[in-house]
C-alpha cells in the first residue's frame, strides 16, 4: 500500500502525522480522556509498555505543557455538517451541541505557556528505548520484574530508599497507570489472548504497587474468549470498570481499553511482584471473598437514547459465576473520523513521513539477508 493510499484508508494515521504524534494511538488516549476525564486532577502518572511513546507524548503535552486537545483534533468537519443535514444528531441536543462546540473551539489545542506545570511526574517504562520527551522520565525495564518496582518508585521519588522500605507499596502513590502494550500476535487466538492478558496482569500488578486509592488504571485488552472473567477480576480492585472503544480504534480489531476508576484494594491486600496476580489461585481466592460486591451495574450511557433496556430471562442454564461483562463505552463522538472509512484527500495532498519510524522487527536481519540473496524468494543463507 502506498503512503498516500494509507492516508486515505486510515484517517488517524494521516492526522497523527499532521499533528506530530509518534503513533496514531495518541488519539485513542485523547478520546478515552474526553470520555472519562482521565487527566482530571492527575499529577503523577505511570505509562507502561510505552514505546514508541505516543501515550507519553500525550501526557507530556497535556500535563506538562498544559496543551489542550478537544474534539477538533480529530473531528471530521464535513461529517458533522452532513450529520446535521441528514438529521443524524437529535434536534433536542442541538443547543448543547452548539455550546459544546463553541467550547471545543476555544479549547482546541490551546496552550497556556505560562502554566507549564512542575508538580507533574510522568514515568514511562518499556523494554525498548523511548526517545526523550519533555518532562517525562523514561525507564528501560521489564514490567514483570520485581526489581522494576523499586526502580519505578525511585524515579517517582528520588528520596525513595528501597532498603528502608519493607514492601513494594509506594509511599507517594500515583494517580493514573496506563498501558497500551500488546504482543505481536501469532494468529493462534487462544495464545494471543493469553499473552495479552499476561501483559494486562503485568501492568495491573505494577499498578497495584504504585496506585493510590481512588486512582485510575487504563490498559489495552483483547475482547475474545473469557474476557468476561478478566473483567470480573479487575472489578475486585476498582469501583467502576468499563470497556471502552475509541473511534480511532478500528471496529474490525479485537482491541479495546479497560478503564478502571476508583482503586479500592480489598482489605488486607498487599501488592507484590514476587507474588503476582494472573497465574495461580490468589486472584480467584480474592474474588471469592469479593463475590458479593461484583454486581451488574447498568450501562453508563444507556437509557437516554430512547432505546428500551431489556434484561432477558435466561433460560440457558449456563454458569456465569465469576463472569461479568463490563459496560461498553464508545469514545470520541460521532463526528470523529471513522477509522474504518476511506477518505478523499484534499487536492495536492502531500503524504508526510511518519514522526518516528517503526521499531526494527526481529526478522529484520532475515529480510536483509534474503534481499542480498536474490529477493524475497531467494534461499536465505546465514553465516554464523
Amino acid at each position: 500500500m502506498g503512503k498516500s493510499s494509507k492516508d486515505k484508508r486510515d484517517a488517524y494515521y494521516r492526522l497523527a502525522k499532521e499533528q506530530g504524534w509518534r503513533a496514531r494511538s495518541a488519539f485513542k488516549l485523547l478520546q478515552l480522556d474526553e470520555e472519562f476525564n482521565l487527566f482530571e486532577n492527575v499529577t503523577r502518572v505511570v505509562d507502561l509498555c510505552a514505546a514508541p511513546g505516543s501515550w507519553s507524548q500525550v501526557l507530556s503535552r497535556v500535563l506538562i505543557k498544559n496543551e489542550k486537545f478537544g474534539r477538533c483534533a480529530w473531528e471530521d468537519r464535513e461529517a458533522k455538517f452532513r450529520q446535521r443535514m441528514l438529521n443524524a444528531i437529535p434536534s433536542e441536543s442541538t443547543d448543547s451541541q452548539q455550546q459544546e462546540e463553541r467550547q471545543d473551539f476555544e479549547m482546541t489545542n490551546s496552550q497556556d505557556e505560562s502554566s507549564n506545570r512542575s508538580d507533574v511526574k510522568i514515568v514511562s517504562i518499556d523494554l525498548q528505548p523511548i526517545s526523550p520527551l519533555p518532562g517525562v522520565i523514561t525507564l528501560r525495564a521489564d514490567i514483570t520484574h520485581p526489581a522494576t518496582v523499586p526502580l519505578l518508585l525511585k524515579a517517582l521519588d528520588p528520596s525513595y530508599d528501597p532498603e528502608a522500605s519493607a514492601n513494594q507499596q509506594a509511599q507517594h502513590p500515583v494517580d493514573l497507570v496506563i498501558s497500551d502494550g500488546a504482543p505481536d500476535v501469532t494468529g493462534l487466538h487462544d495464545l494471543d489472548i493469553y499473552v495479552q492478558s499476561q501483559l494486562l496482569f503485568a501492568a495491573l500488578n505494577l499498578a497495584l504497587c504504585v496506585l493510590k486509592p481512588g486512582g485510575k488504571f487504563v490498559a489495552k485488552i483483547f475482547r475474545g474468549r473469557n474476557v468476561d472473567l478478566l473483567y470480573a477480576q479487575l472489578k475486585v480492585f476498582f469501583e467502576k470498570v468499563y470497556v471502552a472503544k475509541p473511534r480511532s480504534s478500528r471496529a474490525s480489531s479485537v482491541e479495546a481499553f479497560i478503564v478502571c476508576i476508583n482503586f479500592q484494594p480489598p482489605e488486607g491486600f498487599k501488592a507484590s511482584l514476587e507474588e503476582p496476580l494472573g497465574v495461580g489461585s490468589r486472584l480467584s481466592e480474592l474474588q471469592q471473598q469479593q463475590q458479593d460486591s461484583i454486581c451488574q451495574s447498568g450501562p453508563s450511557k444507556a437509557g437516554d437514547d430512547g432505546i428500551t433496556e431489556v434484561i432477558p430471562e435466561d433460560l440457558s442454564g449456563s454458569d456465569n459465576k465469576y463472569r461479568w461483562v463490563a459496560p461498553f463505552v464508545a469514545c470520541g463522538d460521532l463526528s470523529a473520523f471513522d477509522s474504518d472509512a476511506s477518505y478523499k484527500l484534499a487536492a495536492g495532498h502531500i503524504s508526510l513521513p511518519p514522526v518516528q519510524p517503526p521499531t526494527a522487527p526481529p526478522y529484520k536481519r532475515a529480510i536483509e539477508l534474503r534481499r542480498q540473496n536474490g529477493g524475497a524468494y531467494g534461499k536465505p543463507v546465514v553465516s554464523k
Binding site: S5, K8, R9, A79, L86, N87, A88, L127, T144, H145, A147, D184, G187, L188, H189, D190, Q198, R223, G224, R225, N226, V227, D228, Y231, V243, K245, R247, A251, V254, V279, G280, G298, K301, D305, G306, I307, T308, E309, V310, P312, E313, L315, S316, S318, R323, P327, F328, L334, F337, D338, D340, A341, S342, K344, P361, P362, Y363, A366, P380, K384
Partner: protein, 1114 residues
C-alpha cells in the same frame, strides 16, 4: 406479534460439526502394530488410523477449551506404548486418559466415563507421563517456566496437581520436557525475549534443591516459538550427545549442545552450582539482555544455525538418524508459511571446541492452505523413515514417511536420475555388446536429447540430435538400448524431429522433410507418408478408441491439418483421407474428439470446433471458434469429460483450465468453468479411470515442475526442473495418480524421475487457512459458499456420508479481503471486497462422470475510482426484475456512499442508477427492505439508515437504471459503535423486525411499521446491553413465526446464543429471553448463516454447524 396463549417450548442448540485448526498432534503405536494419529481439534480428541486415514473415534475432552497438546506414553525407540495413558492439555486445562480408556478408544469405543478436567495454575506448554520406581507420574511445564507435578493413581487416573517449582519465571512462548532418569526431568523453555533456559528438575523431594539451571542460551533475536530436546544420540560407540533445537521469530533454527558431564552422570549430579538463577533475570531483546558473565560461554554451545521459511517458524523437531553418525540427523521445521522443511544436521564431535555442525536444507513441502502449521508430530521408529504429521490452521492433517509401498500393480519404482548423453551411450554399449548400428562417438558436445515419449508404463523412448533413437525398459532403473533404424531415417530425423506417443507401445514421428513414421515397440519403423512440408506437430486425438487411434498432423504453414488414422484390424495407418481446414495463421497445439466433434486448440488460445462423422472424407471446415479475450497463450491439452459427449476441458499456458459445453449439432460451445490452479503454466491434463474420476494436471510454476490433483487440490509432486519450455514426457497409471514418471532435459542432461506414491498424504481434508468472513447458502440449500481472509471462496455441499462438507470448488480471483457473499438462486454467486472488487460467478453442474462444479466469473463491477482503493463493504439484489432480464442491486462503499445499478443477466453489464452519501462513517451492512425497493444500510457509527427514492419514470433516453435520487427516510441510532451484524424480516406487510449485533456487545431488536402516511415508524427499540462479552459479529434471524422470532448470535467471546423475542405482557412491547448459550469452537467469528432447516453454520477460524430445535436433545 399478537399475544400467544400457548407457551412455546425452549429452543436449544447442539453442535453438529466442527472443522477447526489442528492444534495438537501425537502418534500412538498400539500393540496390534497399528499406528494412530491423535489430533486435538478444538475441544475434541480425534483418533485416526494412520494406515487407512479413517477416523476411529472422537471424544470431547474439555468443556470449553481447545486442546493444545497431547502426550502419549512412549518408550525411547518408538515401540508400542499401551502401558501408559494419554496426557492432554489446553490452556490451563489438563486431563489424563488412563490406559484402559485409551485401549477402548482405539477400538472405536467411547470410555465409560470421562475423567475429571483439572486446572493448572497457568497456561501449559508441554507435559509428560512416565514411570518412576514403579509409580506412574507426570509433569507439566507452564508459560512461566514452572514445573507442576501430577499425582496419578495406580490405574493411571489423575488425582491431583502438585506444587509449582521454578528457578525463574520469565514468560515463555515454548517449552519442552524430557525424562532424564527415574528422578529427573530436563526442561527447556524459550522466552518471549529470545532466550532459552535449560534446567533440571528433580521430583525426589528429599533433595535439598529440586532444580538446577544448566544453560541460558542467548543468540536468537526474537521470541522462541519452538524448543525440542533430542533423545540421546549415539555419535560413536559409547559416546552420546543430547541436542536442543530451537526456532524463533528471527527466522532462524539453531541447534545447541546440551550434553555435559553433569547430564551424563545424573545419578549424583544434583548439586547446585554457580549457575542457578535464584533471582529472576533482566530480560530483553537481543543486545538488551545483560547476560550474566557465567552464562556467556553457554552461547558457544550453539552447534549450528540456519535461516529458513518466509515467515515465523513455529516448531522444530528431530527426525531419524543412523546411530554412530554414519548419516546426518534429520531435523524438520514447521512454519507460518505452511511449509514443512527438512534439514540435515551433520555433526563433528572431534574438534577441540566441542560439538560443531551444520544444517543443510533438503526439501520444502507446502502442506496447508492459508497460513500456519499449528501442530506437528514426528515419530521415529528404529530402522524406519520418520512418520511426520502436520496440522494446519486450515484443519487439514498431512502425513508422510514411514509408509511401506504396497507394491500393487501399476506402482512405480522410486528413483531420480540425471544422465549425460555419454552416460546413456555407455549404458547402450554395456547392454548391447554387439551393436547393430555404428556406435555413436562419445564426447561430442553437439549431441543432445530431443524428444521424449512413453511407450508404456515401463518403456520410454527418446530421439536425439544425431537422428538416432534410444529406448529404455524400466526394471528398477531404466536399461538403455538403441532402436534399429535405416540410415535414411537417421538422416531424415537428424537435427529436427517431432515425436509423440499416440497409443500403447506406439509413437509417431515427423521430420523436416514431411515424412511421417510409425514406430511400434516390437516392429521396425514404418514410413506412413509424406506431407510436403516440415511436420510441425503430431497431436494425438484424445477421446478416440485406443485401438483404432487417430492423430492430427500439422505441417508448417499449411492451411489444413491432416488426420492420421490407424486401423487395428488391418494394422494399417492411413493419412490424408480427411483434413481439417485451418483459419489463416492457425497453429494447432491440441486436439480431441468430443462426441461427434473434433476440437482443436491453437497456439494463441483459440478453440475451434469441427463436426465430424466416421465416414467423412475430404476437408472439414470449422463450425465455430472462440477465444478467451484475456489470453494469448497456447492451449496445451483438450480432454473430453469422462462419460460426457458434450463437455470438454482445455488447459492453457495462461495457468487456467476451462470447461466448455458443446451446443446442439456442434454449432459452437460455451464456457462453463474457468479456474486457476496454483500453477503458472498448465501443460496437460487427464482424468483418472477410478470410480470417481479425478482431474490430474501437470505444468510449470517458476522453476518447478508441478504435478497436481485438481480434484483434491493436492500437489502430488513438485520437482525443480529449471523452468518451462523444455522437452518432457510424463506418464501415470490412470488408476493411481499418485505414481508418476517424468523424463525431461535439464542443462543438457536427461533427468528421469519416478515416484511410487506421493510423499505427502492428506489424512484429513481441511478448509480455509484463514478466518472465514462470510458464509452464504444458496436459495434451495443446495450449496454453501464461504469466503475468507485468504481471499479464497470455497463452495461446499453437505457430505452425503455424514456430518461435514465436501468442497466442490475453490474460487481464487479476489486480491484482497472479501467482505460479503450472497447467492441469487442456486446458480449465481456474488462476492465483494477490497480493491473495489465485485464479481458475479456462474455456478453449474456439468453432466459428466466427473463430479465437479463448473464455475466461472461471469461479470465484474467496473466503475472503479482512479486508485481502486475503496472497499465494497456489502451489496444486495433488489426483490424485483426490471423488464425480463435486469435486476437492480445496491452496493455500499467504504467512503460512506451507497450506489445502485442495474445488472443485465443477458448483457452481463452494469448501468449506474444513483448514489447516496452518508456522513463519512463506513457502511457495514446493506439490505433491500423486504418487499420493496428501499435500502437499509448499517454504519460504523451505530446507526441504520433507510434510503428511499421517489417514484421514477425513465426519460426518453434508453436506460433500465433507476436514476431517481436516494435520500434517507429514516435514521435510527441503535448501537454505540459499529454495527457488526444485521438481519431483517417482515412478518407481514408493513411490519419489519430488524435485529442487529454491535461492537458494543449489544443485541438490538427494532420493531418498525408503516404509518398512515406510508412512512416508516418506529414501534420500539429493545436492547440487551451485554448480550455477549465481546463484539457481536454474526447474527441471523432463524425463526420468523407470526408471534415470535428467534435470533442466533455469535461473538468474538466464542459463545453462540439463541434469543427469542415475543410480544410482551398484554401485547405491549417485546419480551426477550435467552434460550441457549453454548461455547463455540470458532474464534474470530465472521458470520452465521442458516444452511438448512434447523441448522446454522458459523464461520471464523474454522467452521461449525449447530442444530437448533425447540425440543430437548436426547
Amino acid at each position: 406479534m399478537p399475544q400467544t396463549s400457548t407457551p412455546h417450548p425452549r429452543t436449544q442448540l447442539r453442535q453438529n460439526f466442527v472443522l477447526s485448526p489442528i492444534t495438537a498432534l501425537e502418534f500412538y503405536h498400539a500393540e496390534s502394530n497399528s499406528s494412530y494419529l491423535l489430533a486435538g481439534e478444538d475441544t475434541w480428541l480425534r483418533i485416526y488410523n494412520v494406515a487407512t486415514s479413517r477416523l476411529v473415534k472422537q471424544l470431547r475432552v474439555f468443556n470449553s477449551q481447545p486442546i493444545h497438546g497431547i502426550h502419549a506414553w512412549k518408550s525411547d525407540d518408538g515401540a508400542p506404548t499401551t502401558e501408559g495413558g494419554l496426557l492432554i492439555w489446553g490452556g490451563q486445562s489438563v486431563m489424563v486418559l488412563p490406559p484402559t480408556s485409551v485401549t477402548l478408544l482405539i477400538q472405536g469405543t467411547a470410555p465409560p466415563e470421562l475423567p475429571t478436567e483439572f486446572y493448572a495454575p497457568d497456561w501449559i506448554y508441554d507435559g509428560i507421563l512416565f514411570s518412576s520406581k514403579g509409580e506412574t507420574r507426570g509433569a507439566l511445564v507452564t508459560a512461566h517456566n514452572e514445573i507442576v507435578t501430577l499425582k496419578l493413581s495406580p490405574d493411571g487416573n489423575l488425582l491431583e496437581l502438585g506444587p509449582v517449582v521454578s528457578p525463574s519465571r520469565p514468560i515463555l512462548y515454548s517449552a519442552n520436557l524430557t525424562l532424564l532418569d527415574d528422578n529427573t526431568i530436563l526442561v527447556a523453555g524459550g522466552t518471549v525475549f529470545g532466550e532459552i533456559i535449560v534446567w533440571k528438575f528433580c521430583f525426589d523431594s528429599s533433595r535439598p534443591s529440586q532444580w538446577e539451571v544448566l544453560y541460558v542460551f542467548s543468540g536468537h533475536e526474537g521470541s522462541i516459538f519452538g524448543v525440542t530436546i533430542s533423545p540421546e544420540i549415539e555419535v560413536a560407540p559409547g559416546s552420546k550427545v543430547r541436542l536442543l533445537a530451537s526456532c524463533s521469530d528471527d527466522r532462524t533454527i539453531r541447534i545447541w549442545d546440551i550434553a555435559d558431564r553433569q547430564l551424563a552422570a545424573t545419578q549424583d549430579g544434583m548439586e547446585i552450582d554457580s549457575k542457578t538463577l535464584g533471582e529472576a533475570r533482566e530480560t530483553g531483546f537481543g543486545g538488551n539482555s545483560e547476560v550474566k558473565e557465567e552464562n556467556k560461554n553457554d552461547s558457544t554451545r550453539c552447534v549450528a544455525v540456519t535461516m529458513g521459511h518466509l515467515s515465523r517458524i513455529w516448531h522444530v523437531k528431530f527426525g531419524e538418524y543412523t546411530p554412530g553418525l554414519e548419516g546426518p540427523i534429520n531435523v524438520y521445521s514447521f512454519g507460518e508459511d505452511t511449509t514443512r522443511q527438512k534439514w540435515e544436521l551433520s555433526l563433528d564431535v572431534t574438534g577441540s571446541e566441542g560439538c560443531k555442525g551444520a544444517l543443510k536444507h533438503c526439501t520444502t513441502d507446502s502442506c496447508h492452505s492459508g497460513k500456519n502449521i499449528w501442530s506437528a508430530a514426528v515419530s521415529n521408529k528404529k530402522g524406519q523413515a520418520s512418520l511426520i504429521a502436520t496440522g494446519g490452521a486450515d484443519g487439514k492433517i498431512v502425513i508422510s514417511g514411514g509408509m511401506s509401498s504396497s507394491g500393487s500393480e501399476g506402482d512405480y519404482e522410486a528413483f531420480n536420475l540425471s544422465l549425460s548423453f555419454d552416460d546413456v551411450l555407455g549404458q547402450i554399449q554395456e547392454n548391447s555388446p554387439t551393436p547393430f548400428m555404428d556406435p555413436l562417438p562419445k564426447g561430442d558436445p553437439k549431441h543432445a536429447f530431443q524428444k521424449y515419449a512413453f511407450l508404456s508404463d515401463s518403456r520410454v523412448i527418446t530421439t536425439t540430435s544425431p537422428g538416432r533413437i534410444f529406448v529404455a525398459d524400466i526394471q528398477e532403473t531404466p536399461k538403455w538400448k538403441e532402436v534399429r533404424l535405416p540410415d535414411e531415417v537417421v538422416a531424415d530425423l537428424r537435427s529436427y524431429n517431432i515425436m509423440r506417443s499416440v497409443a500403447m507401445d506406439t509413437v509417431v514421428l515427423g521430420s523436416s522433410t514431411g515424412n511421417v513414421y510409425l514406430l511400434h515397440s516390437r516392429k521396425p519403423i514404418r514410413l506412413v507418408g509424406n506431407l510436403s512440408g516440415k511436420i510441425q506437430d503430431i497431436l494425438p486425438l484424445v477421446g478416440v478408441d485406443v485401438q483404432n487411434w487417430q492423430a492430427v498432423i500439422t505441417v508448417l504453414g499449411a492451411d489444413r491439418a491432416y488426420i492420421l488414422s490407424y486401423d487395428a484390424s488391418t494394422d494399417e495407418p492411413s493419412i490424408g483421407g480427411l483434413t481439417l481446414s485451418l483459419p489463416e495463421h492457425y497453429i494447432p497445439t491440441a486436439a480431441a474428439q468430443v462426441g461427434s466433434a473434433i476440437i482443436l486448440g491453437s497456439r494463441v488460445g483459440v478453440v475451434t470446433i469441427y463436426s465430424f462423422s466416421e465416414d467423412r472424407v475430404g476437408t472439414i471446415r470449422p463450425q465455430n471458434w472462440s477465444r478467451d479475450p484475456k489470453t494469448k497463450d497456447a492451449i496445451t491439452a483438450i480432454v473430453p469429460l469422462p462419460g460426457s459427449s458434450r463437455d470438454f476441458l482445455t488447459t492453457c499456458r495462461d495457468g487456467k483450465y476451462r470447461m466448455y459445453t458443446i451446443w446442439r449439432e456442434n454449432r459452437g460451445f460455451s464456457l462453463q468453468h474457468e479456474i486457476s490452479p496454483p500453477m503458472g503454466m498448465i501443460e496437460g491434463a487427464w482424468f483418472t479411470t477410478t470410480e470417481n474420476p479425478e482431474l490430474i494436471l501437470h505444468g510449470f510454476k517458476g522453476k518447478q515442475f508441478v504435478y497436481y490433483n485438481a480434484t483434491t487440490s493436492a500437489v502430488l509432486a513438485s520437482l525443480e526442473c529449471g523452468g518451462a519450455h523444455r522437452s518432457f514426457a510424463i506418464i501415470s497409471p490412470l488408476t493411481n495418480p499418485n505414481a508418476l514418471r517424468l523424463i525431461f532435459t535439464k542443462s543438457s542432461h536427461l533427468r528421469f524421475y519416478s515416484q511410487s506414491s506421493t510423499f505427502l498424504r492428506t489424512l484429513k481434508e481441511g478448509g480455509h487457512g484463514r478466518e472465514i468472513r462470510a458464509v452464504a447458502c444458496s436459495a434451495n440449500f443446495k450449496y454453501i459458499a464461504t469466503a475468507a481472509e485468504d481471499t479464497v471462496i470455497r463452495i461446499w455441499s453437505p457430505s452425503p456420508t455424514g456430518p461435514g462438507f465436501k468442497c466442490l470448488a475453490t474460487l481464487e480471483k479476489h486480491s484482497s479481503g472479501i467482505q460479503s457473499l450472497q447467492w441469487k438462486g442456486d446458480h449465481t454467486l456474488v462476492s465483494c471486497g477490497g480493491s473495489e472488487e465485485l464479481f458475479i460467478w456462474s455456478i453449474t453442474r456439468l453432466k459428466s462422470d466427473y463430479e465437479t462444479l463448473a464455475v466461472k466469473c461471469e461479470a465484474f463491477w467496473n466503475f472503479h475510482t482512479k486508485d481502486k482503493d475503496l472497499r465494497i463493504m456489502a451489496f444486495d439484489f433488489s426483490n424485483s426484475y426490471i423488464g425480463e432480464y435486469h435486476t437492480e442491486f445496491a452496493i455500499a462503499l467504504s467512503n460512506s456512499t451507497i450506489q445502485t445499478y442495474t445488472y443485465g443477466e443477458r448483457t452481463l453489464e452494469f448501468e449506474f442508477g444513483s448514489e447516496g452519501r452518508y456522513t463519512g462513517a463506513c457502511p457495514t451492512q446493506l439490505r433491500y427492505v423486504p418487499g420493496c425497493e428501499d435500502i437499509i444500510v448499517a454504519y460504523t457509527d451505530g446507526h441504520i439508515a433507510i434510503w428511499t427514492r421517489p417514484f421514477w419514470e425513465p426519460g426518453p433516453e434508453i436506460t433500465s437504471a433507476n436514476k431517481a435520487p436516494l435520500s434517507i427516510e429514516l435514521l435510527l441510532k441503535l448501537h454505540q459503535s459499529s454495527i457488526k451484524s444485521f438481519d431483517v424480516v417482515s412478518p407481514h406487510d408493513g411490519r419489519y423486525i430488524i435485529a442487529t449485533g454491535g461492537d458494543d456487545n449489544a443485541l438490538i431488536v427494532a420493531d418498525l411499521g408503516i404509518d398512515d402516511g406510508g412512512k416508516y415508524k418506529v414501534n420500539g427499540r429493545y436492547r440487551v446491553s451485554s448480550a455477549h462479552g465481546a463484539a457481536v459479529t454474526g447474527l441471523k434471524i432463524v425463526r420468523d413465526d407470526a408471534d415470535l422470532i428467534e435470533v442466533v448470535t455469535v461473538s468474538n467471546d466464542q459463545r453462540i446464543k439463541l434469543w427469542r423475542a415475543e410480544s410482551g405482557q398484554d401485547g405491549q412491547g417485546i419480551k426477550l429471553s435467552l434460550q441457549d448459550n453454548r461455547y463455540s469452537g470458532i474464534a474470530d467469528v465472521g458470520d452465521v448463516e442458516v444452511i438448512s432447516s434447523g441448522k446454522v453454520m458459523v464461520g471464523g477460524v474454522g467452521m461449525e454447524v449447530w442444530d437448533f430445535n425447540p425440543f430437548k436433545w436426547p
